[in-house]
Amino acid sequence: MLGIFSYEFKKMNEDIIVCRCQEILLSQVEEAIHLGARNLNEIKKRTRAGMGLCQGRTCSSILEKIFQTYLGINLEDIEPFTARIPVRPVALANLGSDNDVTEQS
């Protein structure tokens, strides 16, 4: 298990980056929960956590842990980020196309 999982968010003295792609801080996530966000998709809208290059593949487990800590929600009850195409970044010309444009060039 990742080291971050053993941290106690509420006892930390310093702010940490939760979403490294968008550089979203724990304090911003706390603020979003305070404003009413109750699942990962709602956190994403309010903070941009999960909107970067990795699309939440890094921060979603940290965000789930934050929800568990702050709201007492069981991990299995937390609605994950909506899964969408593409799984990893893909060139626009290749999206949905049979031709691999970037391979040809």
């Binding site: 404003l35 966000a37 109750r38 309010r46 593409p86 970044p89 060139a91 999206l95 970037t102």
Partner: protein, 390 residues
């Protein structure tokens, strides 16, 4: 906590509901805004943020859109919350002779409705947007168009409304509404009951469901728009870009079931490029499909060849609340006292959010609006109502 009574209850915490809440507080009413999820989690959170006027039907539609765009510009100056407002102007790309003829007459009609549109030849178009393909013929351009971050605008309306005295309750679903003496009387929700004098149905694609609680049929259908998001890039375009056939797809042939794609491009404040969008009637299915996405990416690469190499990081789809004539439904519902509707904005909700708030708040407080709302009435459709009592 849900209050046990409210003078005005607005159902729906999207852009339209939040704007109505904000505008009511400006007229001295402190409404209750109820949302079943968090704010901006439906259509308002799954769209682009274009305040586009050239795609509006010349006439009453364009008229209120012009007012709304101006009001949003003013709002961007007064709100302490950044709504990402950028006055970039919008360019409609003309790709063939048919588009050219259509746009020449469309631009003339728009000028008559008060929207100044310039016709650019290919040279002037490429000077403004050098990454466009040299295959395009030209464009129309209007300077007053802008973009916003739709959910930041949603939060801004709601937070200012709350600061002015409104009550915002999220994660609270309205399960039933009942009437007494032919007036709305009580909301039953997942957080308890609330006695009400006035109810505003601002539920977008879910407005028909709320309508059915009162036996009111509301002809709004979800229309899916699939959207592609690129990685963050330095400025690649300076304007909002829309292909001219978008206007044709929207109005010239308002055919249900035909899945045509006009495309638009917007570069967000963060640098992501937003490519949209399909127009599909597939019920409440909000998935993205390879066919739908390809119809967008193919067309984008035709007009911006170098964009083919941009990395796509995400796709999403939103469900536009559409009506058969492309206009929203605004105003009181005949036969049920205290019931108002503000829904069915299609793909124009961001642009029309401000004026919708202004119209509905004025109808509630003053009993009249500064604008002719007859073209927006529910009664323009032949619908039925047979409400139940408390």
């Amino acid at each position: 906590m849900l209050p046990n009574k409210a003078d005005v209850a607005i159902i729906g915490g999207g852009l339209i509901g939040a704007s109505i809440a904000y505008h009511l507080t400006l007229l001295g009413v402190n409404p209750l805004l109820i949302e079943k999820n968090d704010l901006s989690m439906g259509t308002s959170g799954a769209c682009d943020g274009m305040l586009c006027l050239q795609t509006k039907k010349p006439g009453v539609h364009l008229k209120i859109a012009l007012v709304s765009a101006q009001n949003l510009k003013t709002f961007s100056h007064i709100t302490p919350i950044d709504i990402g407002y950028e006055n970039r102007g919008a360019m409609m790309i003309i790709e063939n002779e048919d588009d050219l003829r259509a746009m020449e007459s469309f631009a003339e009609q728009q000028s008559k409705s008060g929207l100044e549109v310039s016709l650019f030849d290919q040279k002037a178009t490429l000077e403004r947007e050098p990454l466009l393909s040299t295959k395009i013929l030209g464009s129309t351009f209007s300077t007053i168009e802008a973009q916003v971050n739709p959910y930041y605008l949603n939060y801004a309306f709601a937070q200012l409304a709350e600061k002015n005295g409104a009550t915002v309750i999220t994660h609270c679903e309205v399960k039933d509404i009942c009437t007494a003496n032919s007036r709305v009387r009580k909301l039953s929700t997942t957080k308890g009951d609330c006695l009400v004098d006035i109810v505003v149905n601002a539920c977008g694609i879910h407005a028909p469901k709320i309508g059915m609680m009162l036996g009111v049929e509301i002809p709004i259908k979800p229309q899916r728009g699939q959207v592609i998001i690129s990685e963050e890039m330095p400025a690649l375009i300076s304007s909002i870009i829309i292909t001219a056939n978008t206007a044709a797809v929207k109005y010239a042939e308002y055919n249900r079931g035909i899945n045509k794609t006009g495309v638009g491009v917007e570069q967000s404040h963060n640098g992501n490029l937003i490519f949209g969008a399909t127009r599909e009637y597939v019920g409440f299915n909000s998935s993205t499909t390879l066919d739908g996405l390809y119809s967008i990416s193919k067309h984008i690469v035709e007009i911006f060849p170098s964009f083919g190499e941009l990395q796509v990081i995400r796709t999403f789809s939103g469900l536009r609340p559409t009506t058969d004539d492309g206009l929203p439904i605004l105003g009181p519902v005949e036969g049920i006292g205290g019931l108002f509707i503000a829904a069915g904005h299609g793909g124009d909700g961001v642009c029309l959010s401000a004026v919708t708030g202004q119209i509905i708040s004025s109808l509630i407080v003053n009993g009249k609006s500064d604008y002719d709302i007859i073209p927006f009435s529910l009664s323009r459709f032949s619908t039925s109502s047979s409400h139940r009592k408390c």
